[in-house]
Amino acid sequence: MIEAVKSRSRKRLITLTVNGEEHEIAIRPNAMLVDVVRDQIGLTGTKSGCSSGSCGACTLLIDGRPMLACSTLAVECDGKAIRTVEDLADGERLSPIQEAFLDQGAVQCGFCTPGMLMSVTALIASNPKPSHQEIKKALEGNLCRCTGYNAIFNAVLQATGQDGIKPIMF
C-alpha cells in the first residue's frame, strides 16, 4: 500500500514546448496539464472551470488541436507543443480574433474567454471561412454564462470577414 502510494507520487521528467519555449519539468504522473501549465509554468491565462471536461474554460492547443487541459494528463504531452492564450498576441498587437472579441463586446466576466479564443483559433486555422453550423460545432464545448453567445458568434464572423459584421464599439 505504502509502496503503491510512493510510486504514484514519484515524479517524472517531461519536456513541454509551451508557446515556443521548451520546459523540462518534473511532474507527478497523475498531474493534469491544466495544473502544470498554471502552477508550474506559471501561465494562469488558462482557466480551470469545472475540472471535469465539461465547460471548456481550460481549452488550449496541443500540437495545434484544441484540447481540455483539465482532462489531459501532463505525461501524455511529453515532447508535444502546447499553445495557450498568452501566445495569441504578437507583442502589443492583438490577433484578429482577439480584436474581434473586443470590437463585438464578446467579453464580460472573461473567465470563458481564453478557452473560447483557443477553440476559435483552432477553427480558423483549419477553416478560414467557417459556416454558422461549423462555428456552433467548434464552440459547443465552451460554456459562457454571461454573454448569451451572440457577441461571441459575431466576433467569429467579424474575424473571418463574414456577413458584413462590423465592430459595435465607437
Partner: protein, 810 residues
C-alpha cells in the same frame, strides 16, 4: 463626453490576452496552504461522533479543524446567525461543512477531506413543500400577506374565473469561476483577504468576527469575479472566513477554491417556487381580482430568503394594474442548500406567476395574449383615464434622524438579510389609482410605447398568423410565439442599503485614480463608472485608472446587487469628481481673475476665460497652489420609504422596463425544441454604454430562458443533489442561442434623476426569457384544446409529457 459611448469592458484587453487575474491567479507567497471542507453525507441528523485522525495523518495535511477549534465566532450567515462555518452538533443538509482541512496542496486537502469518519443519528429530511408545511418548518412566524382591495370579493363578482398552479424550478448560478478566497496574514494580527465576492464589506465583517478583531483589522480586496449572478453575495463568506482562520492559526497564506462539484453541492441556488393562483376577469379579459399563494423553498438557513420572497411578492403584478390583489408568501425551511440571491432576487418567480395568469386567461378567452396584456397594463404617464385626479404623492424625508430601533450589534447591517430598518412607519401608500398592490404609484410606465414598437419591429402579427397556419397543418414540428413584458423595481428593498461611496484622486500629472464600493463581475460596472469620472473631468476614459474594490478605501459598502451598481456608485463617483473639479475651478478662476463657473473641463483641456491648458497642467497648477486633489463622494437614493411587514410604501426609486417576443419550434415526438428567434426592446434609460447594456440584455435573456427550459435541479429522496456537474445540469450552450437575435434599446431617459438619466440593467433582462417559456406553451397548446399548464423548467421531457397530457399521441 465619454458617457453614452459604446466602449468595451474595461479589462477586455487583459481578458483576451490571459492577463486578467482572478483570485486563483494571484501570485501567492511561498508556503501558501490550501483548504478543503469535509462535507456532510446526510441531509438531516445529529452528529454522534467525528473521527478526523485519518484525515490528520494524510499526506500533506498540516491541520484539520472542527467547530471546537474555531477561536471566535462560528458563523458565516449574512443574517440570522444560523449558519455555522463548521457544524456543531447537527447537520441540516447534504453538503454542509463539518470540518476544515489545511494542507500543502489543493489536491492533498481535497483527498484528506474525504477521510473524515463521521457517525450520525440520521433523521428523515424535510425536502418538499408538503413536508415543510406539514412540519411547520418555515422562516418568520407565518406567511407574509400583502393586499390591495378585496381580491376574494372581486373574483367572486367576476364574470369568468381561472385557477391553477405553476411549479417553478430553481437555478444554479454556474458562474464560470468557482468560489475562491485567499487570506494573507499581516503584522499585528491584521488580515488581508482577496475574495471573489459581490460583497467585500460583508466578507470583512464576517472575517473580523471570526478573528475576534474590529473591522479595521481586516482589509478585503476584490478586483473581479468570473461571474457572480447573486451567487457571490453571501456564498463566499465560508471560504473567506476559513482562509482567515487557518491563516491566523498557521501564520501562512491560505487559499481555498471549490471544485465545481463541491461548489454545486455546497452553495445555495435560486429559490424554487410553487405559485397557486386564482383570477377573476370580464369577457374582455380585464382582471378584477387576483390571489396568489407563493411557496418558496428556502433551504436550511435564512440567508437572504426573506427579501427574496418579499421581492417575489413585489413583482406579482409585473406590468398590470390589478384592482384587487392578495399575495400570500410562505418561506419554507427545508434540508437542502440554503437558497440565495440569483439575478432578479425573487422577482422572476413572482413575475412568472402573473404571466402564467395572463397566458391562461388568453387561452380561456381565445384572445390574443398581447392584446389581453395591453388591456391590463398600468396607465401611461399623463394618461388620466377615469381615475380621480392624481393626488400629490407624499414625499417621505430622505433621512430619518434620531429615530432608530435597537439593533443587535452582531447584525451584518450591510446585508440584505438584515431585518432592522429605520422608521418604516413613514411609509405611505401613494395616491392616483395607478398604483401597485403595495401602494407605489407607477409614474414612469413605458410599456405602451415599447409594446407598440416591438410589435412592429418583430412583425408579430404576421408571424403569429404564420405560426397558426403552420400548426394547423398538424405536422410533428410545432411552432410557438409569445410576447412578455417586464417591469422591474429598482432599489434595495432594505432602504438603508441604498447608499454608496467613492474615492477619487487626481495626480499632479493629470491621471486619475478611481475607487468605489461596487464590484466587477463582468457586467461592465467599472467601465461605466470610469466613463462617468472621465466625463466629469472632460478627459478620455483611458486617463482614469480603475482600481480593485477595497474595504480600506471605501467603507460600509452594500453588495453589488439589486442592479444598483452603476446607479449608486456612478452617483457617488460623480460627487467625488465634482468636489475636486470645483476646487480646481475655484483656484484657477482666482488665478486668472474670473469666476469658477467660467472654468470649462472639456476634451482633455481646461479653459479659464481666455487661458487654455491641458488637464495635466491644470492639475499641476492646482497641486502647486496647495489645492487638495483627493475627495470622497457619497450618494443615497432619495424618495424611498417602505414597510415590508405591512407591504406598503415606496420600495423602488423607479422601474426598468423591457419586452420580448420569442419564437420556438418543438418536435412533439421527442419534446426537443429550439428558440428560432428573439426580438427584444429594452429600457436602459439614457444608456451609459449601449454596447455593455446590450451585452447585459442578450446574456440576461439567454440565462432567463435557460432557467425556464433546460436547467433542472434534481434532488433524490435523501436530499442529495443529483445534478451537481455540468454533465447533468445543462446551462445554455452556443447552439441554444436564438438563431435570429434582435436586441435594441428603448430610446428614452429615466424620468428620475439618476446618473445621466440612465437605468439599471443588470437583472431586468433575465425576465425577458419568460417569453421563451410561454412560446413553448403556445406550441404545445396546438396539440389539444386544454390549457397546457406547463411547469418550469420546460425540459424536453416535460414538453413531451405536456404534449401527451393534451391527449396527443396516446
Amino acid at each position: 463626453m465619454s458617457v453614452s459611448r459604446a466602449l468595451p469592458h474595461d479589462a477586455a484587453r487583459l481578458h483576451v490576452t490571459g492577463a486578467a487575474r482572478y483570485v486563483d491567479d494571484i501570485p501567492v507567497p511561498a508556503g501558501c496552504l490550501h483548504l478543503a471542507f469535509g462535507l456532510s453525507t446526510i441531509a438531516r441528523g445529529a452528529i454522534r461522533s467525528m473521527n478526523l485522525d485519518e484525515a490528520r495523518g494524510a499526506p500533506g495535511v498540516v491541520a484539520v479543524l472542527s467547530a471546537a477549534d474555531l477561536p471566535f465566532a462560528n458563523d458565516v450567515s449574512p443574517s440570522a446567525h444560523d449558519e455555522p462555518l463548521l457544524a456543531t452538533d447537527r447537520v441540516h443538509y447534504l453538503g454542509q461543512q463539518l470540518f476544515l482541512v489545511v494542507a500543502e496542496s489543493h489536491l492533498a486537502a481535497r483527498r484528506a477531506a474525504r477521510l473524515g469518519r463521521v457517525e450520525y443519528d440520521e433523521e428523515d429530511p424535510v425536502l418538499t413543500i408538503e413536508q415543510a408545511l406539514a412540519a411547520g418548518a418555515r422562516f418568520e412566524e407565518g406567511p407574509r400577506i400583502y393586499e390591495k382591495g378585496d381580491a376574494r370579493a372581486a373574483i367572486a363578482a367576476a364574470a369568468r374565473t381561472i385557477e391553477g398552479t405553476i411549479e417553478i424550478g430553481g437555478q444554479e448560478h454556474f458562474y464560470l469561476e468557482g468560489q475562491a478566497a485567499l487570506a494573507l496574514p499581516q503584522e499585528g494580527g491584521d488580515m488581508v483577504v482577496h475574495s471573489s465576492t459581490q460583497h467585500p464589506t460583508e466578507i470583512q465583517h464576517k472575517v473580523a468576527e471570526a478573528l475576534g478583531v474590529p473591522m479595521h483589522g481586516v482589509r478585503v480586496e476584490t478586483r473581479r469575479m468570473g461571474g457572480g449572478f447573486g451567487g457571490k453575495e453571501s456564498q463566499g463568506n465560508a471560504l473567506a472566513v476559513a482562509c482567515a482562520v487557518a491563516a491566523r492559526l498557521t501564520g501562512r497564506a491560505c487559499k481555498m477554491r471549490y471544485d465545481r462539484d463541491d461548489d454545486m453541492i455546497v452553495t445555495g441556488k435560486r429559490h424554487d417556487f410553487r405559485i397557486a393562483y386564482r383570477a377573476g376577469f370580464d369577457a374582455d379579459g380585464r382582471i378584477g381580482g387576483v390571489e396568489f399563494v407563493q411557496y418558496a423553498r428556502c433551504g436550511w438557513s435564512q440567508d437572504l430568503s426573506l427579501p427574496v420572497a418579499d421581492r417575489a411578492m413585489l413583482h406579482a403584478d409585473n406590468a398590470y394594474l390589478l384592482p384587487a390583489c392578495r399575495i400570500e408568501s410562505h418561506r419554507l425551511r427545508t434540508n437542502t442548500q440554503s437558497a440565495t440571491a440569483f439575478r432578479g432576487f425573487g422577482g422572476p418567480q413572482g413575475m412568472l406567476g402573473i404571466e402564467r395568469v395572463m397566458d391562461h386567461i388568453a387561452h380561456e378567452l381565445g384572445l390574443d395574449p398581447v392584446e389581453l396584456r395591453r388591456r391590463n397594463y398600468y396607465r401611461a404617464p399623463g394618461a388620466g383615464g377615469l381615475s380621480a385626479p392624481r393626488a400629490a404623492a407624499p414625499r417621505p424625508p430622505e433621512s430619518f434622524p434620531g429615530k432608530m430601533k435597537h439593533v443587535d450589534p452582531a447584525t451584518d447591517l450591510t446585508s440584505r438579510g438584515a431585518v432592522s430598518d429605520l422608521a418604516p412607519d413613514r411609509a405611505r401608500a401613494e395616491g392616483g389609482g395607478n398604483t401597485t398592490p403595495y401602494g407605489q404609484a407607477v409614474n414612469d410606465f413605458e410599456l405602451h410605447g415599447i409594446t407598440d414598437v416591438l410589435m412592429r419591429t418583430s412583425d408579430y402579427d404576421n408571424r403569429c398568423r404564420a405560426v397558426g397556419e403552420w400548426n394547423a397543418r398538424g405536422g410533428p414540428i410545432r411552432r410557438g410565439i409569445a410576447f412578455s413584458p417586464v417591469k422591474f423595481g429598482i432599489s434595495f428593498t432594505l432602504t438603508h442599503l441604498n447608499q454608496a461611496g467613492a474615492l477619487v484622486h487626481v495626480y499632479q500629472d493629470g491621471s486619475v485614480h478611481l475607487n468605489h464600493g461596487g464590484t466587477e463581475m463582468g457586467q461592465g460596472l467599472f467601465q461605466k463608472v470610469a466613463q462617468v469620472a472621465a466625463s466629469r473631468f472632460g478627459i478620455e476614459p483611458g486617463a482614469v485608472k480603475i482600481t480593485a474594490t477595497d474595504t480600506a478605501k471605501v467603507p460600509n459598502t452594500s453588495a453589488t446587487a439589486a442592479s444598483s451598481g452603476s446607479d449608486l456608485n456612478g452617483m457617488a463617483v460623480k460627487a467625488a469628481c465634482d468636489t475636486i473639479r470645483g476646487r480646481m475651478a475655484e483656484f484657477l478662476a482666482e488665478l486668472h481673475q474670473t469666476v469658477a463657473a467660467e472654468v470649462r473641463f472639456h476634451d482633455g483641456r481646461v479653459r479659464v476665460g481666455s487661458h487654455d491648458m491641458s488637464f495635466a497642467e491644470a492639475a499641476e497648477a492646482a497641486y502647486l497652489g496647495r489645492v487638495s486633489l483627493s475627495a470622497t463622494g457619497y450618494y443615497r437614493t432619495p424618495k424611498l420609504a417602505w414597510d415590508r411587514i405591512r407591504g406598503v410604501g415606496r420600495p423602488f426609486y423607479y422601474f426598468a422596463y423591457g419586452a420580448a417576443v420569442s419564437e420556438v419550434a418543438v418536435d412533439i415526438r421527442s419534446g426537443e425544441y429550439r428558440i428560432l428567434r428573439a426580438d427584444i426592446l429594452h429600457d436602459a434609460g439614457a444608456s451609459l454604454n449601449p454596447a455593455l447594456d446590450i451585452g447585459q440584455i442578450e446574456g440576461g435573456y439567454v440565462q432567463g430562458a435557460g432557467w425556464l427550459t433546460t436547467e433542472e435541479l434534481v434532488w433524490d429522496g435523501k436530499g442529495r443533489l443529483r445534478t451537481q456537474a455540468p454533465s447533468t445540469y445543462k446551462i445554455p450552450a452556443c447552439a441554444d442561442r436564438p438563431e435570429v437575435f434582435n436586441v435594441a434599446l428603448w430610446d428614452g431617459a429615466n424620468r428620475e434623476d439618476t446618473i445621466y438619466r440612465s437605468k439599471a440593467v443588470g437583472e431586468p433582462p433575465l425576465m425577458l426569457g419568460i417569453s421563451a417559456f410561454l412560446a413553448l406553451s403556445h406550441a404545445i397548446a396546438s396539440c389539444g384544446a386544454r390549457y397546457p399548464a406547463l411547469d418550469a423548467p420546460a425540459t424536453p421531457e416535460a414538453v413531451w409529457a405536456a404534449v401527451r397530457r393534451l391527449g396527443h399521441g396516446i
